[in-house]
């Protein structure tokens, strides 16, 4: 690994909980082949030097527009795909830290039960030919729980935990609504008592009135089971709602990472600020506040020079066009990759007190 790999942990946060997961300089390039010889002509830089950390028991939101690499980051962390380079430091319950990136399949087996995933599409992620019992108990069986009655007890407990009736165990997924299916997916993810749960857009396929139920359930479970979430989503209001800290990604790069309220109230990266201004708010009296960001998201196969955001950034200067900014900590626990982070005064979103009453 190269020399520039400094740990990212904030200096002031030594007293805070240790990171359960620390990702350093993670890269994932997908090759593009062309011609009869399948020669590699280019690479899609889906994840391009991302560093982040998740503290034990917290929720880290990972937000960005489609194609920014947020799902690829989460898949690399779970080692569902192999990263091109970088480190994925995972802390086990006994405090031992292991880099997951270079491990092979058999070495990873020990870590798999500790990291589970909640999927986006509750219709596609449950096998329609398996009963709820079979779906939720499969991870238990695979990991050595062979007694059926033991598994039944365990599944019943899991279903109660996620707010489903235990009689549902013998039914098939088609009998359930989207929200109920997502609960089944959550029960399956929790079957092995994971320490890290990666949720990739867990509520985006659900109806508005059901989203809140699932978000509340996730908050409840986190408290009860001391879970750590990596919550990947494109919806800023959902991410704000559930996260302790938020990371914002743009074209394979992490542009900003900070505590939720801090990030929303005083963003330091122009992209973060633009993203927040673009969110339509459910308030007809704030119509003129909504602002659009000109231009289009850059292609990760052919990113612009310097800072990837500079062609759309109204604050861009010469240095932004030539030098790629590094992610740095500008105030304790607030990381930004922008050359002008200190001097810019960017507007954030104030919490609407009236709405809380």
């Amino acid at each position: 690994m190269s020399d520039g790999m400094q740990p990212l942990m904030p200096k002031a946060a030594a007293s805070a909980k240790p990171p359960l997961l620390e990702v350093r300089h993670l890269k994932k390039y997908f090759p593009i082949y062309k011609g009869v010889l399948r020669k590699m002509v280019n690479q899609v830089r889906a994840v391009d030097d991302v560093s982040l950390f998740v503290r034990e028991g917290e929720t880290l939101g990972l937000v960005g527009e489609s194609g920014c690499g947020k799902t690829t980051v989460s898949r690399c962390i779970l080692r569902a795909i192999d990263p091109t380079s970088g480190e994925i430091q995972f802390r086990e319950a006994d405090g031992k830290v292991t880099d997951l990136a270079p491990l092979d399949r058999s070495e990873l087996r020990r870590f798999r039960p500790q990291m589970q995933m909640i999927f986006q599409d509750p219709f596609g992620s449950l096998n329609p030919r398996m009963t709820i019992f079979e779906i939720v108990s499969e991870p238990l069986y695979v990991n050595g729980m062979r007694s059926k009655s033991e598994r039944e007890d365990h599944v019943a407990e899991l279903l109660r935990l996620v707010g489903l009736r235990t009689e549902y165990m013998a039914r098939y997924p088609h009998a359930f609504s989207g929200g109920q299916r997502q609960r089944i997916g959550i029960a399956r993810a929790l079957a092995l008592n994971p320490r890290l749960v990666v949720a990739d857009e867990p509520v985006s396929a659900l109806d508005v009135s059901v989203q809140a139920q699932v978000l509340n359930l996730m908050l409840d479970l986190q408290q009860k089971l001391n879970l750590t979430y990596l919550f990947v989503a494109h919806d800023l209001s959902v991410v704000k709602h559930i996260s302790d800290r938020v990371c914002v990604m743009y074209v394979g790069k992490l542009v900003e990472m900070a505590a939720t309220e801090e990030l929303f109230q005083s963003p330091r990266h122009p992209y973060t600020a633009a993203l927040m201004m673009a969110v339509p708010r459910p308030d007809p009296s704030s119509r003129d506040i909504i602002q659009d960001l000109p231009g289009e998201v850059a292609s990760p196969a052919n990113p612009p020079s310097g800072c990837y955001f500079h062609p759309r950034c109204q604050y861009a200067t010469e240095v932004c066009r030539t030098q790629t900014p590094e992610l740095r900590e500008i105030t304790p626990d607030h990381f930004v990759s922008c050359h002008r982070a200190e001097e810019l005064q960017l507007a954030g979103i104030k919490v609407n007190q009236e709405q809380q009453l």
């Binding site: 929720t59 527009e65 489609s66 609504s177 989207g178 929200g179 109920q180 109806d207 508005v208 009135s209 059901v210 989203q211 809140a212 139920q213 978000l215 509340n216 908050l219 408290q223 494109h234 800023l236 209001s237 959902v238 704000k240 709602h241 559930i242 996260s243 302790d244 939720t260 309220e261 929303f264 633009a274 993203l275 927040m276 201004m277 673009a278 969110v279 339509p280 708010r281 459910p282 308030d283 007809p284 009296s285 119509r287 909504i290 602002q291 659009d292 960001l293 000109p294 289009e296 998201v297 979103i349 104030k350 919490v351 609407n352 709405q355 809380q356 009453l357």
Partner: protein, 374 residues
């Protein structure tokens, strides 16, 4: 071609105060082997000229079927069983100064010449999925020109010029080149702009936008919403804006219609719906959405249960099994009717007196959301 029963019910002159589109007690049912699905069950609303009406609701509430029923493009198996849809149509489509007539769309045969002339020229549709809306084997320009040639008396060359102009109007750079590209060569935002260009190409007076921004990213969504608002102001086009996103509705709509399981639950101005919602469903829906303006990690008040299966619609008010103000023997016995609780503010709920719209119960006072910090 055999002419149909003449749909002209009222000759031209005095239509200035009439709505552009009037939907009255529209019912569209799906007749299936498993039973009848009452997808749209008595929907009424008006679209005034130059106004944006937002139809908001969750999946299965019938918002898309309502739109298809207006345009008479329902799938086979679905039928309009009741109701009237009246359009203030121009006699000469595309000519803004043309005289007007009232046409009852529900009396027209879906395949009739008149109905086909109205689609595209008077009422245009912006569909949800821009990838599926364009044919991948024709250039977008050819597809837009096809619409123009169908509805306007122009040469191919003029049609191309109109297409280029409308591309420019929706903010596509280099329109002369882009018009010859295929839909798959365009990015999501550009494709959505091209669809809007196609819808606008014949100067329709009513645009139906069915979830036009759900498939695209927030920053692009903001661009498209701004564009639609600008075009709407410039051309005084009316828009029926269909979405499940309350944020988008709040940003776009003048009037809001809230639907649930095929029925209108509440309708009124955007201000009234968002600041002074009266129906328990609207109130609960507004409280349950996370907002960028609220505190993080606070529990949201939820709506219990889930949307009923269409074959299994609850009796009486369709929302009663999930309603916190449920009154036994009332809500599950009969269907409520829309009552006017305030000027131009209608609520479909038994909590309000049918005679004068007065609140029958005070317990509907908005309960504060559970604010339990975690």
């Amino acid at each position: 071609m055999v002419t149909q029963v003449h749909p002209l019910i009222k000759p031209t002159n005095d239509l200035a105060n009439e709505p552009l589109l009037k939907v009255e007690d529209l019912k569209a049912y799906f007749f299936m082997d498993e039973g009848i699905v009452r997808a749209v069950d008595g929907v009424s609303f008006d679209v005034m000229p130059g106004k944006v009406v937002g139809i908001v609701g969750e999946s299965g509430c019938g918002k898309s079927v309502t739109m298809k029923a207006i345009l008479q493009i329902l799938e086979s198996g679905a039928k309009i069983v009741n109701g009237k849809v009246t359009l203030r149509s121009r006699v000469h489509h595309g000519d803004p100064n043309s005289a007007e007539e009232l046409i009852e769309l529900t009396h027209l045969h879906p395949n009739s010449r008149q109905m086909r002339r109205i689609r595209g020229a008077e009422i245009a549709l912006i569909p949800q999925e821009p990838m599926a809306a364009f044919s991948p084997v024709h250039t977008v320009g050819n597809q837009i020109m096809e619409t123009i040639l169908l509805h306007q008396d122009v040469s191919k060359k003029e049609a191309r010029q109109i297409a280029v102009d409308v591309f420019r109007a929706v903010g596509i750079s280099m329109p002369e080149q882009r018009i010859d590209s295929y839909s798959w060569q365009l990015s999501g935002g550009l494709r959505q702009r091209a669809i809007i260009a196609m819808a606008l190409s014949c100067n329709p007076r009513l645009l139906i936008a069915d979830e036009p921004t759900t498939a695209i990213d927030v920053t692009t969504q903001a661009q498209i919403l701004k564009l639609l608002r600008k075009l709407q102001e410039e051309r005084q086009t009316s828009i029926i804006f269909i979405t499940h996103d309350l944020g988008v509705i709040a940003q776009m709509a003048d009037e809001v219609v809230v639907m649930y399981l095929g029925m209108v639950m509440e309708k009124g101005s955007a201000m009234k719906i968002f600041k002074d919602a009266q129906h328990p469903y609207t109130q609960a829906l507004l409280r349950s959405i996370p907002s960028v303006q609220s505190h993080s990690r606070v529990k949201l008040p939820t709506i219990a249960g889930s949307i009923a299966h269409p074959f299994n619609r609850p009796k009486g008010c369709p929302f009663h099994p999930r309603c916190t103000h449920f009154m036994r023997g009332v809500c599950d016995a009969a269907q409520p009717h829309l009552v006017e609780v305030d000027e131009d503010h209608f609520v479909n709920c038994f909590l309000y007196s049918e005679a004068d719209g007065a609140k029958l119960m005070d317990k509907i006072e908005t309960a504060p959301p559970v604010e339990k910090s975690l």
